[in-house]
Symmetry: C4
Subunit: 246 residues, 4 copies
């Protein structure tokens, strides 16, 4: 295998592939759980699909899903469960390209499976569009892109901060910090954009509901924001190695 293959990360696929297969399975299950529990919390069985959303409930459900998922499989795959996180970390050189592409495929497949399961579990009357993301009243696609950019930015900014290898004190509470940042994003953005923060989560809902309005916003926004945050953090804010502390 040549130099290019190593840079792309092809070496992870030859030889001991057990690690990457487990990681891909972990990302698949993670995104399945995220769409099942997060989008499922948007469903209102008692009042049906016309009821006003309870934003605090939805925000807690998505955030606590991420907290639970990272607690369970963070050590297996890194617990990205989000193409914006994967893209951000890849842009900063912390994930190799081949692994990144495989992760994104697994994340999208998992999200679709989670939304599909949710559809199977939900009476038609209450299902509505099962939490598909969409722009709020009078919110333009450009405004939506701006909001989703900021959601991807804050999420990956926090991921970089709490997973900085030179900040060991952050490790114990990292899953909680990442999860509650997802909650934060939803508290802001449920009524602006439906609050994706995560292209796979939007994709999974869209494919099951077959609703694709403004779908580009939910890929371009979080990925661009995530890449911006990762580059800013890595080049500007990384903690110095312990040796450098005076």
């Amino acid at each position: 295998m040549g130099e290019l293959g190593r840079k792309l990360g092809l070496d992870e696929l030859s030889g001991g592939t057990s690690g990457i297969i487990k990681a891909i399975l972990a990302e698949f299950i993670g995104n399945l759980l995220l769409n099942l529990f997060g989008c499922g919390a948007c469903v209102n069985i008692a009042q049906g699909s016309g009821a006003a959303p309870d934003i605090v409930l939805i925000a807690l459900a998505f955030g606590l899903s991420v907290f639970a998922i990272i607690s369970a499989i963070g050590h297996v795959s890194g617990g990205h469960v989000n193409p914006a996180v994967t893209a951000g970390l890849a842009s900063a050189g912390r994930v190799k390209p081949v692994r990144a592409v495989l992760y994104v495929i697994a994340q999208c497949a998992g999200a679709a499976a989670g939304s599909g399961l949710l559809k199977a579990f939900t009476p038609d009357r209450a299902a509505g569009s099962l939490g598909v993301t969409g722009l709020g009243t009078e919110v333009t696609a450009l405004q939506g892109f701006g909001i989703e950019f900021c959601l991807g930015f804050v999420l990956v900014f926090v991921v970089c901060g709490v997973c900085d290898p030179n900040k060991p004190d952050s490790k114990a509470t990292a899953p909680l910090a990442i999860g509650l940042t997802v909650t934060l994003g939803h508290l802001l953005a449920v009524d602006y954009t439906g609050s994706a923060m995560n292209p796979a989560r939007s994709f999974g809902s869209a494919i099951v509901a077959n609703v694709w309005n403004d779908h580009w916003v939910y890929w371009a926004g979080p990925v661009a924001g995530g890449v911006a945050a990762a580059l800013l953090y890595v080049h500007g804010f990384s903690a110095p190695p312990p040796d450098n502390i005076t």
Copy 2:
């Protein structure tokens, strides 16, 4: 005592029984507190039993109950307080059969005691069925089984992740992660199934209210989900021992 006796865990009952008696008492008290505080938070004294449930309130109450209980008695019994957790850990070989059976009996007795106490503390007008679990409008028993399977799965998946002996960094926040996963399950499922996640919790409510509709769902779902999660985690995702980290 023969080989079979050791596998079943009969040795825990002979000799130093103090440990297992304390553990059984701890599980009893834990489930008592869970049904008292969790189901009690479902009661609405001011508006009576016809009021719409506040799902965020209920979800926080069950989750923070579990967080409190594990904080208090986790070191005594492991802090299962849930037959689905006990069954999952038993299927993975981490709890011996005799101990598992005794735990489940203690959990059910504790839950019944907690629901009984709650009945004594609550004016009849407001009591309703004291938080008994039941399927939401148009939710079929099979859909309910699917939801409860997923609740048991995510709970035991997180328990395995945060209690993995090779992930010491997870230990400090483990009780919080487990508790907030219980909150997560309720955010999704209160209006689907009443959100048991826990057969003992359902049993305790059912015996005091004498309401047994679809009761099998609340045993089969969480136990099957918990066993599936434990087997998946132990065989697929366990963290390697520190020596194996390169």
Copy 3:
């Protein structure tokens, strides 16, 4: 000073008294903040004193007050800010009688000061009875005693569990666990008893509002529950010293 004086803790008052004076001041400030922020969150400026309470809001306010207070002064006084905690720990021999009495006086004085400040900050129209505790509709005094007993029990049970000197892993998250247990108690009990969990909190509200209905419930319940929990924990569930772990 004789043997009796040492048992009562009189030695803490002679000699280096700086420590106990600081501790008493810390308890005073802690209970001041608890009644100011907790009871203040019960006030509804926009809708006035007839509005229905938002139980999640109130429960979070009391719980996060306790989390904040213990984070700030827990190392100075132990961060009891509650006569039920002080009584429980005294009954278990972990606080000496003289210190306990001084703490309770400081707690009650601080709570009264906090409720007084709140009265000064609040327009009369919205003040109502400033969060005074009272029994819910049709809740008997005996039922209220039972609920408050259980609130004191769960709080002190968790305090004992997370402050157990042989459970060092619990130390980092102890203030959070204690605070969220206070939240838990309020999620259950706001509409049963107003949810004191804490005689000083009730006393401070009662003296400023001059409302003393069923006031004994808010002393007898939490103190009896706290003492029961402390004795049960210390004699039944204390973690063994690390040497005893096999």
Copy 4:
């Protein structure tokens, strides 16, 4: 450079200025995110600017913003993102005057940028005054000052407690404790004063909405409270060095 220059902190500007430039940038970004996410959560796209505020939602948004920001850039600048915190720590000698002034300028500029971004992202119909702080009905300016004093006090009191260099056990959960104390302040004060706790947050909203009613309250209150808390903590409650523990 003379003695005076060193006391003011001019030495931080000569020589290795990279550190302070990064810190100023970090504070700018932090306050940008705080006003964008916190004030943005006050916007109600679906119902427009006349809707009643959801105080729990708003309180969680501001608190989780602070948790996220400190998690991401706390190690770069200390994570003040609040002139009241900077003033408190400066009064206690823990931040030098020149750095403090530069921080406050960066915080105000960041907050204005965050509120400006929010305006760009929000349809006019729903924008209202974009979360500008103002006194509640019948709340006097003096009462508002009192409330904001207490908000600044509790925040800086907790900051001092969890960042005390002699309390290493507090470090892991410090960002969470500080964030949830911001949540606590908002649970109390949204309907009293709009709950600034933070002069920069108020300034950013005021300059974009061009609403300056009672603006002095939002500077004088939190700064005075923060300074009082820092002086009290440093002179009365600092933890002793580990050597002094017996």
